[in-house]
């Protein structure tokens, strides 16, 4: 008995070593050089974790787009292939292993998750090897030189950049005749902060007045305090950029206090999965890529949504469009680079994008901004928990933050 307990440690250890060793036996592919070989898109994403609601729809849309493009003969006679790897709730070790494994399988372009912090291990694995790294829906200017310096030339996102979004929100507010605004900043994410900062700057440029600036953070348990304080400052519109639990807490918090002032949110506030029945969500606006409520003005977008529904993954926010747009954008870049899939060649083309038409509309990049700007945002209003397209808005100015 004593003997077994004493040797128990060793036995377990041996087991652990065997288990770890077993992992060692994996494959390593070789990069495709033949022009007729398919173009491999390595897609490292979060399939079942926190980011899954963003990553899964983008991948689903990309897959449909790839199928459509391949049906028309592919790109420069080469088919597109998507190889995926699950980063498992964006565990940094797994994410890095995923990226290396996908590159080992000959990936020409690496796609990554929709949050730049979670994406970093994957992005670095790609750009360190001269491979283009693309995110379908990162919304900050961080996916590019701003975060990754010189190597960041190879990093792009097809999400809308927060500055552009905040500016569009300000324009929309001004156009509605809302002259005073109260700001609630969720300090958790750079994206959240930048949207509100951009609104702040652009709104004042247009002649608006900011009556109150409050901040709160996901996880800090202080959204109620921010709501209470905003409520005591009368404004024509309240502005925030948030999702997660703070979104319903913010909106229903204000409404519960009897405050009926319009609230405007960024893409973070897209969807109706979060709406509360009591009090119902009213007079709430947000800007997004596409309306998933059946009334998007673009026919191709509507048919993409139909295709996604048919594929069993109906989108709950407009963010899926980033996945489809990214495929279109990449295809255009490859064509303009005469079939090259080299990171530097593609990046050189992407930074020249000026109102280039993709599935969701026209998009632009610049040498500084590797995240989309200039999109025609869909403004959606939720009233009595029903979402409806209200109009389109495009930012005229991108404020420098």
């Amino acid at each position: 008995m004593k003997r077994t307990t004493r040797w128990g440690g060793l036995a377990v250890l041996l087991g652990a070593v065997v288990a770890v060793a077993a992992i060692a036996g994996a494959t390593g592919g070789h990069a495709a050089t033949d022009a007729k070989k398919p173009i491999v898109i390595g897609w490292a994403f979060d399939a079942k974790g926190q980011m899954a609601p963003f990553d899964d729809p983008a991948l689903a849309a990309a897959k449909i787009r790839v199928k459509q493009i391949n049906a028309k003969g592919g790109v420069t006679k080469r088919k597109l292939v998507i190889k995926t790897c699950d980063t498992q709730n964006n565990n940094p070790t797994t994410a890095k292993a995923c990226a290396i494994s996908l590159l080992g399988q000959g990936a020409n372009i690496i796609f990554t998750t929709c949050d730049v912090d979670f994406a970093t291990p994957v992005v670095q694995a790609a750009i360190n090897r001269g491979v283009l790294a693309v995110a379908p829906c990162i919304g900050t200017d961080q996916m590019g030189p701003k975060r990754f310096a010189a190597k960041g030339k190879l990093a792009f996102s097809f999400g809308n950049v927060a500055q552009d979004e905040g500016s569009a929100m300000a324009q929309y507010a001004w156009s509605r005749g809302w002259k005073t605004a109260g700001l609630g900043t969720n300090t958790l994410l750079v994206y959240f902060k930048n949207v509100v900062q951009a609104f702040d700057k652009r709104f004042r440029q247009l002649g608006g007045k900011i009556v109150d600036r409050e901040s709160y953070a996901t996880g800090a348990n202080n959204v109620n305090s921010a709501v209470t304080r905003l409520n005591s400052h009368k404004a024509a519109v309240y502005v925030t950029s948030t999702s997660f639990g703070e979104l319903p807490a913010f909106v229903s918090g204000l409404r519960s206090l009897g405050n009926k002032t319009p609230i405007i949110n960024s893409w973070a506030g897209d969807g109706t999965y979060w709406v509360t029945n009591n009090p119902k969500v009213t007079n709430y606006y947000f800007v997004t890529y596409a309306s998933v409520f059946g009334d998007d003005p673009s026919a191709p977008v509507r048919s993409m949504i139909a295709a996604l529904k048919a594929a069993g993954s109906p989108p709950s926010t407009g963010g899926f469009l980033g996945g489809a747009d990214a495929i279109d954008g990449i295809v255009i870049a490859i064509k303009r680079a005469h079939g090259s899939t080299k990171g530097s060649a593609l990046a050189a083309q992407l930074v020249k994008f000026k109102r280039v038409p993709v599935l969701g509309g026209r998009i632009s990049f610049s040498a500084k901004l590797h995240t989309v700007f200039g999109r025609d945002y869909r403004v959606i209003e939720i009233n009595n928990n029903k979402a409806k397209l209200k109009g389109l808005v495009r930012a005229k100015v991108i404020p420098k933050l």
Partner: protein, 303 residues
């Protein structure tokens, strides 16, 4: 001038509401600690399970939804005791604590899988949301939940105090919390006392689930995790050895957090955790046995 005054009253209301909810959690944690000497880190996941139950039953009549919330939480609480706490009885405090970490992660990971089935993360529990509406008190809007939270907390604490003081099971529980070995020598049934503590702590978790979803109707796997950590801190700061000091500690940390948050300039609220935890350190250094543990020496060498 009037704005400032009204903000202060509102803030005070928020502070009382937060403090009341944390006091309830503190009792739930303190009660189990009392009889088992186990710091249950997984307490938040009981609340999370209750909140998910409220979310998934939000189509039901409110009463049915709340009853099922309590049923799920109490069942889970008993299951936790049976499957985890009981085999661990007598283990070192560090082992018990770390095992409850594992239980907590297990339940969160499970919730993530269940939640994500519909492609979105988070579920809305809004059956009790009307409680979040405001009533005007002297020109100041105060949320109903503040009164309900304070009312439930005071009611639950008074009821518990009466049970502990007047009933046999209450007497036995107090004896077990003070000296379990002697209590057993006198014939006090350990399993019955522990079951009582576990059930009451589950009921409190159920009540907290209802109150927390009023303020934050969006339920995610990490629901109440942050709150649990803060309450655990508060409980130790107050004095975990006794139920009343633990409860006061829970109340105090909730109350103080809201006030500090309100006192900080907007652009400095991001440093709220630093301020609160610096206070925690100061209090612990000055009164290691607990802020409210008058006349007790710091002889608690348990973990």
């Amino acid at each position: 001038m009037s704005t400032i005054a009204s903000v202060d009253l509102q803030t005070l209301g928020d502070a009382f509401g937060q403090g009341a909810i944390y006091a309830l959690m503190a009792v739930g944690i303190g009660l189990v600690f009392g009889v088992l000497r186990l710091v249950n880190f997984a307490y938040g996941q009981l609340i999370m399970a209750g909140a998910y139950t409220l979310a998934y039953t939000s189509g039901w009549p409110v009463a049915a939804s709340i009853v099922s919330c309590f049923a799920v939480v109490v069942t889970l609480s008993l299951a936790m005791d049976r499957l985890v706490f009981r085999p661990l009885r007598g283990s070192s405090p560090a082992v018990m604590l770390v095992t409850t970490f594992a239980v907590s992660f297990f339940l969160q990971a499970l919730a993530l899988i269940i939640d994500l089935r519909d492609g979105t993360l988070g579920q809305i529990a809004s059956s009790v949301a009307p409680l979040n509406q405001a009533v005007s008190v002297g020109g100041v809007d105060v949320r109903k939940v503040t009164f309900v939270a304070v009312g439930v907390a005071v009611g639950a604490l008074v009821a518990l105090a009466l049970v502990l003081a007047r009933t046999t099971i209450g007497l036995h529980t107090r004896a077990a919390a003070s000296d379990f070995r002697t209590a057993r020598l006198l014939g006090v049934r350990a399993n019955r006392v522990i079951a009582f503590a576990v059930v009451v702590s589950g009921l409190l978790a159920g009540a907290v689930a209802v109150l927390l979803t009023v303020q934050n109707p969006f339920v995610q796997p990490d629901f109440a995790l942050e709150d649990t950590i803060i309450v655990l801190v508060g409980v130790v700061v107050g004095g975990i050895d006794r139920l009343w000091t633990a409860t006061l500690g829970g109340f105090a940390i909730g109350f103080v957090s809201v006030l500090v948050n309100a006192a900080l300039p907007t652009d400095k609220t991001v440093f709220l955790p630093s301020v609160v935890y610096a206070l925690v350190i100061v209090v612990l250094l000055l009164r290691p046995a607990g802020l409210f543990a008058w006349g007790r020496r710091a002889a608690v060498e348990r973990v």
